[in-house]
């Protein structure tokens, strides 16, 4: 009899558990193999560090992160998004690195009423006319980073700038953002193939155009290829090179070394930003993974913080999508880059910094903040977004 009672009690206890605490399930769909893997791995590791700092409970809920590799392929990413919605039944999907993948995945996720929080990709389409109640961006709108360098190059008085970017949505956004603040002559605007290896043909054209500065947006391996070849072509000392943080971040600097020294670039974050949370993040990341965190790692961390903040605000109730959405949208995110608020299109309003590639204390090449280009900067597309 006692035994039966005990069984009954434990059965009741089992029944009671899920009601008391919903497990927070997060789908981490990111690029873990192939040439873009460095970026995805940093996002994943930054995110994991935030979960660890929260004691394994984002927003006080048991947190389960389900990893999947999108191989930087839109079709694979859409398949995984489908799996996360239908089979794993996650509440949130994050991890996306590439803008073209984000655009491809959104219909599936929004259709499945699953929140899609981008830790990196911030395409203009999803900030403007195609903004979506289920899409949030914890990092930046693509253009913002480029706008900052555009303003800097304009302020420095450059008159004839040569522009290069890969031929995909973020590439177009990037050069559009640069030109929004740079008003001088465009000596050339060249779009190259995504994943291009050899830039000899383009560099020869560039040299012939005789610009007084060059602006390039080449994230990941493309950036490494370009920077190496730019220096080898004897252009480094001759024509100043500028770019967004993506072209000169930690993942690239480790591979090109001193070839990038002195280059000015922009980002919403830098490893030397002086606040307690960031100091702890950089130190713990180095200790845990043995490398200096990139901006992608910081964005992964901030994404986890945003989820943490919103889930706390709704008291762990993950069923009510409208409340969770309101909590995400109104979050005053205490991020690694100070307080960040979100605009009506669910994109951040934040500072953008100018950084310079320098040799750090222990000889490692890294970025140093040199100026704040924009304070509380909103993106240019919010006016086209029908969400209010």
């Amino acid at each position: 009899m006692t035994r039966n009672l005990l069984t009954l009690a434990s059965a009741l206890a089992l029944l009671a558990t899920p009601a008391a605490a919903d497990t927070l399930k997060i789908g981490m769909i990111t690029t873990l193999s192939g040439p873009g893997a460095g970026l995805g791995i940093d996002i994943r590791d930054g995110f994991a560090l935030a979960v660890e700092h929260a004691g394994g409970k984002l927003g006080g809920q048991d947190t389960q992160v389900i990893e999947a590799d999108d191989q930087q392929k839109p079709d694979v990413a859409v398949g995984l998004a489908n799996r996360m919605v239908e089979r794993d039944r996650v509440q949130v999907v994050t991890g996306v690195v590439w803008s073209n993948l984000a655009l491809a995945m959104l219909p599936t996720l929004a259709g499945g009423q699953t929140f899609f929080i981008s830790p990196n990709a911030g395409p203009s389409q999803l900030a403007g006319a195609q903004c979506n109640p289920y899409f949030f961006n914890a990092a930046y709108q693509n253009d913002q980073i480029h706008e900052a360098v555009g303003k800097h190059v304009q302020d420095e008085g450059f008159k004839k700038v040569y522009l290069m970017a890969p031929n995909y949505p973020a590439g177009k956004d990037g050069l559009a953002g640069f030109k929004r603040y740079y008003k001088g002559e465009v000596a050339g605007e060249v779009y190259t193939q995504v994943g291009q290896l050899d830039y000899a043909a383009e560099l020869a054209q560039l040299k012939a155009a005789a610009p007084d500065a060059v602006y390039v947006f080449y994230p990941g391996g493309m950036g490494i290829n370009f920077i190496k070849q730019y220096e080898q072509a004897g252009l480094k000392g001759a024509v100043p090179l500028f770019g967004p943080g993506f072209s000169f971040d930690q993942d690239i600097l480790a591979a090109v070394g001193e070839s990038a020294l002195g280059v000015k670039n922009s980002a919403q974050w830098s490893p030397d930003l002086d606040n307690a949370a960031n100091r702890k993040f950089v130190a713990d990341f180095k200790a845990k993974y043995g490398r200096i965190p990139s901006m992608y790692a910081a964005q992964g961390y901030d994404t986890a913080l945003l989820i943490d903040t919103a889930v706390k605000a709704v008291g762990g109730n993950l069923k009510d999508k409208d409340k969770l959405r309101a909590a995400l949208a109104s979050a005053k995110l205490q991020s690694l880059r100070g307080e960040v608020a979100f605009n009506t299109n669910h994109y951040p309003i934040h500072n953008i910094y100018l950084r310079e590639v320098v040799k750090g204390a222990n000889g490692a090449v890294t970025n140093k903040t040199v100026a704040t280009v924009f304070t509380n900067h909103a993106d240019a597309y919010v006016k086209d977004c029908p969400m209010k």
């Binding site: 192939g34 040439p35 072509a233």
Partner: protein, 304 residues
């Protein structure tokens, strides 16, 4: 566009072609002689680049590191051939594709475990880091070195294949494998040798590409597709075909990227011209392949 720029673009095309030749020579030998589709050829290219990057700081000399890396890659080829591929020769091509694709995944993960996921550092040696003045044209010294190495390898392969006994067997093997076996040649040894040679060449290509390109996991697959295009155009199994195909692809790709946007600018506005030019330039080599195959279905210099 002035003449000097055209010369420079020509050199760029030649250099890309030579780079592709280093890859294609090994792949076409293995394919033509052993009848083995080796998708993992790019893996040896990656291994060559990583070994060079790892050995430069240890040996403190780029040429030494390069030589060691090429040798080690060839040795790795011998081991892989003996352990994984020997059982596949009698199986059909689909099995070989599956198995060598597995090798790609295995080695990519292995390299990630050993060297980490982030691309690693490799720059040209100081002596070749700058530019060389060629009659008023400033050209990157290291790209000239790639050109020189590629030409040297082409001459070496020609001598090897046209003038030595091993070369005779390789030629015979490419033309009629069964007959060579029937004549009592130790095919197993010949295959091992050919595979190691191919891997060494891929390693050399990786070592020479490393200072120009990102040394990262998956770098082999990026160049592998181009390499397949080259050997299909050139004719499978033929070194001469590989050379012709590589130079053709290098030239068409480079000149396409250089000239097409400018050509489109004559008929449309700048923004559309650069977009259309970029799109068409990225297709140019595949169009070339289609045209070549339409005229000569077995490639330019078929071995069989």
């Amino acid at each position: 566009m002035d003449a000097l720029l055209l010369v420079e673009q020509g050199l760029n095309g030649l250099q890309l072609g030579v780079m592709l030749f280093l890859m294609a020579a090994g792949l076409t030998l293995v394919f033509g002689i052993m009848d083995l589709i080796n998708l993992a050829h790019g893996t040896f290219y990656m291994v060559g680049a990583y070994l060079t990057a790892a050995l430069v700081p240890v040996l403190d000399s780029f040429p030494l590191a390069l030589a060691a890396a090429v040798l080690l890659t060839a040795l790795l080829g011998l081991v892989v051939e003996a352990v994984a591929l020997r059982t596949l020769y009698r199986r059909d091509h689909l099995d070989q594709v599956l198995a060598t694709f597995g090798l790609i995944l295995f080695f990519n993960e292995l390299v990630k475990i050993v060297f980490g996921p982030v691309p690693i550092f490799l720059n040209p040696p100081a002596a070749l880091a700058g530019t060389v003045d060629l009659f008023g044209l400033k050209y990157p010294a290291f790209r000239l070195a790639i050109l020189a190495v590629g030409i040297a390898v082409a001459v070496f392969l020609w001598l090897l294949i046209a003038r030595t006994r091993v070369g005779m067997l390789i030629r015979a093997g490419a033309t009629n494998r069964e007959m060579v076996m029937a004549l009592g040649v130790d095919v197993r040894r010949l295959f091992g040798l050919v595979f190691a040679l191919g891997c060494g060449l891929a390693g050399l290509a990786g070592a020479m590409a490393g200072p120009v390109l990102a040394v990262q996991v998956g770098m082999g697959e990026q160049i592998l597709i181009l390499t397949f295009v080259v050997i299909v155009i050139g004719g499978i199994g033929s070194i001469r075909g590989a050379l012709a195909g590589a130079l053709l692809v290098g030239m068409v790709d480079t000149l396409g990227r250089a000239l097409l946007p400018a050509a489109f600018r004559l008929v449309m506005d700048a923004a559309n011209a650069s977009a259309a030019g970029a799109a068409l330039a990225s297709m140019a080599i595949y169009v070339l392949m289609a045209v070549v195959l339409a005229i000569k279905p077995k490639g330019l210099f078929p071995a069989h």
